[in-house]
């Protein structure tokens, strides 16, 4: 039983990170109908910038919590600037181009960011300093660290804040209007370019938070970390129904749980034929199965095809 509980805890922690990154994908998709392939690299840049900020602030006499908060804010600012630039350079000129054109520029941006990160920070793994107390708690035989508790709480708070922003503010209403119908929104006086830029910046800020979380959880930062994380988060967004905020959160947490339970039980389920090295394959198989029965994801609405 304690193994089950442990896997559920690990899954929830991983799922919270997926959910935050998936929100970035789904917000951009909801408004532009575009897979922002470079989003995973934004997460990586967030983690790298936070690491540099922490290293710079460590020499001061500030308390670790303040250092962590300041670094997260710096990382968020850097990622927002990055997200804004990516949209301006690579996506805005192609807004009325054939559908696959921005996908290719997104891949280009992803390659450029990854290579630049490799040139600046090198190929090696950087260790991410432990700033929160490394205490762990024992819940019914399963172990949860305070870092993990913090990750889940921060993720919930950030998601609540985002839901409030989207459903209760003027900006949120503008975002929903643009997602519904760009032409009509602009006729009603919504500045579409501003809304789209803001969406990219919001998504990138979430990515920065997720980047710090993932680095704090594993204790390492690497120039290649964004790619696979982005892929998983995109899978999560599709699982929940891409373009749907609640779907991204649900999809993220579910994917985290599926992965960790899959890793724990796939051997027993298949009589030892498949091991935990099939973890990723298992996650994709679940995704395919879900999409066969619900072609628009768990919470997605029927979307029309745009050529």
């Amino acid at each position: 039983m304690d193994i089950l509980l442990q896997q559920i805890i690990n899954g929830l922690v991983q799922g919270s990170v997926y959910a935050l990154v998936a929100l970035g994908y789904t917000m951009v998709y909801g408004i532009l109908g575009l897979i922002n392939f470079a989003h995973g690299e934004v997460v990586m840049v967030g983690a790298m910038v936070a690491l540099m900020a922490i290293q710079a602030l460590m020499v001061t006499a500030l308390s670790p919590i303040i250092i962590l908060l300041l670094s997260v804010i710096i990382a968020m600012a850097a990622c927002m600037a990055l997200g804004y630039s990516i949209e301006r350079i690579a996506y805005r000129p192609l807004r009325h181009a054939p559908r696959l054109a921005p996908l290719i520029t997104a891949i280009g941006v992803s390659i450029v960011l990854q290579t630049l990160a490799m040139m600046i920070w090198g190929r090696e793994y950087h260790s991410f300093p432990q700033l929160l107390p490394n205490n762990s708690h024992n819940i019914g035989g399963a172990i949860i660290t305070e870092v993990q508790i913090a990750i889940v709480i921060v993720a919930i708070l950030v998601m609540l804040g985002l839901m409030l922003l989207v459903h209760r503010t003027r900006l949120g209403r503008a975002m929903r209007a643009v997602a519904e119908n760009q032409t009509a929104a602009s006729l009603m006086g919504v500045d579409i370019n501003k809304v789209i830029s803001t969406t990219f910046m919001l998504g990138s800020a979430l990515a920065a938070v997720a980047g710090v979380m993932v680095s704090a959880n594993y204790g390492v930062v690497h120039y290649y970390m964004g790619f696979i994380l982005g892929l998983k988060a995109f899978t999560a967004a599709v699982l929940g129904g891409i373009g749907n905020l609640r779907g991204a959160m649900l999809g993220g947490v579910l994917l985290g749980l599926i992965e960790s339970l899959g890793a724990g039980y796939i051997g027993a389920l298949t009589g030892g034929v498949l091991g935990s090295n099939y973890q990723d394959a298992f996650a994709f198989m679940v995704l395919i199965t879900v999409l066969v029965f619900r072609p628009s994801g768990l919470l997605g609405e029927r979307v029309s095809e745009r050529a």
Partner: protein, 368 residues
Amino acid sequence: MLNFSTRNKWLVFAVMVILLATLPFITDEVLGRGWVRIIDFALLYIMLALGLNIVVGFAGLLDLGYVAFFAVGAYTYALLASPQLGLHLPFWIILPTGALVACIFGALLGAPTLKLRGDYLAIVTLGFGEIIRIFLNNLNAPVNITNGAQGISQIDPMRIGEFYFSRTHEIFGITFPAVHLHYYLFLALTLVVIIISSRLQDSRIGRAWMAIREDEIAAEAMGINTRNIKLLAFVMGASFGGVAGGLFAGFQGFISPESFSLMESVMILCMVVLGGMGNIGGVVLGGVLLVILPEAFRNGAGPLQQMLLGKVVIDPESMRMLMFGVALIVVMLWRPAGLWPSSVRRRELEANDGIAQQEQESVYDAEH
């Protein structure tokens, strides 16, 4: 388009034949043997890009896991002609077998994804590609089939009777090294693939694919069996990938799951879109450029910096990736429909925006 008279057409054709026939010798002389090998790879990628073009360019189904079929073809060849399972079948039997197995996998992928649209399809195909790669990576236990991450080595070279493509031959007093022979073999098969592609494009099936790409509901209303036609697109595309995979295995003599990563699928998609989706000439151009350019960057980046700055500031490998990424962005910004778009696409882009707007709105009305 240029309007050639019949005589000029023949002249262009003759020049092309001579150029393609002498290309390996000229390249060998001017740039060195390494570049002939690169051209061989360019031909393989053209085959792959043309296969993906059927799925993405003709039928409009976004496939991000195309490399799976390349992998299936390569592993079929490797398992049937290497010490791994102790089988050593000749390549003219294996190559069609590889294509057939890839077709079966194409149908396997196609069947569950028929109902999916657009980006949902993209993620499922991506997942399919990853599943295949993960299985190839792990099928060394409990029974060793694929030899896992180490890959399969000592794959038999391609040969017809006693004619080995992997050995230097003397024909009519001209010495043909192995890479040159592979070039002619790959060129012949690439031409076959181009001919099949262009015949398909103009056929009833090709027109059905394009109808589905433009508007699936209208296509169905016109009496097209969209399910079978979409499956056929996956199967046809997969078969080209399977053939290219078999050639790759025989040419390299060694394969491992590492060669079939998601990045390869992305690269092939870039060839199709960058060159000009749906246009065979454009796709060939995209394939050539995306193989040749990174290599040229790799070889040219060091000396170029030496010349301009007096020292090598950025290591060539990073420089290559950086320039490649920038090139993708710049080309798409400059030509959103690809370098050499199909005439249908071009007409669409040049069409009056007002009409396009009206069409959009009528679609919107119909849905609500």
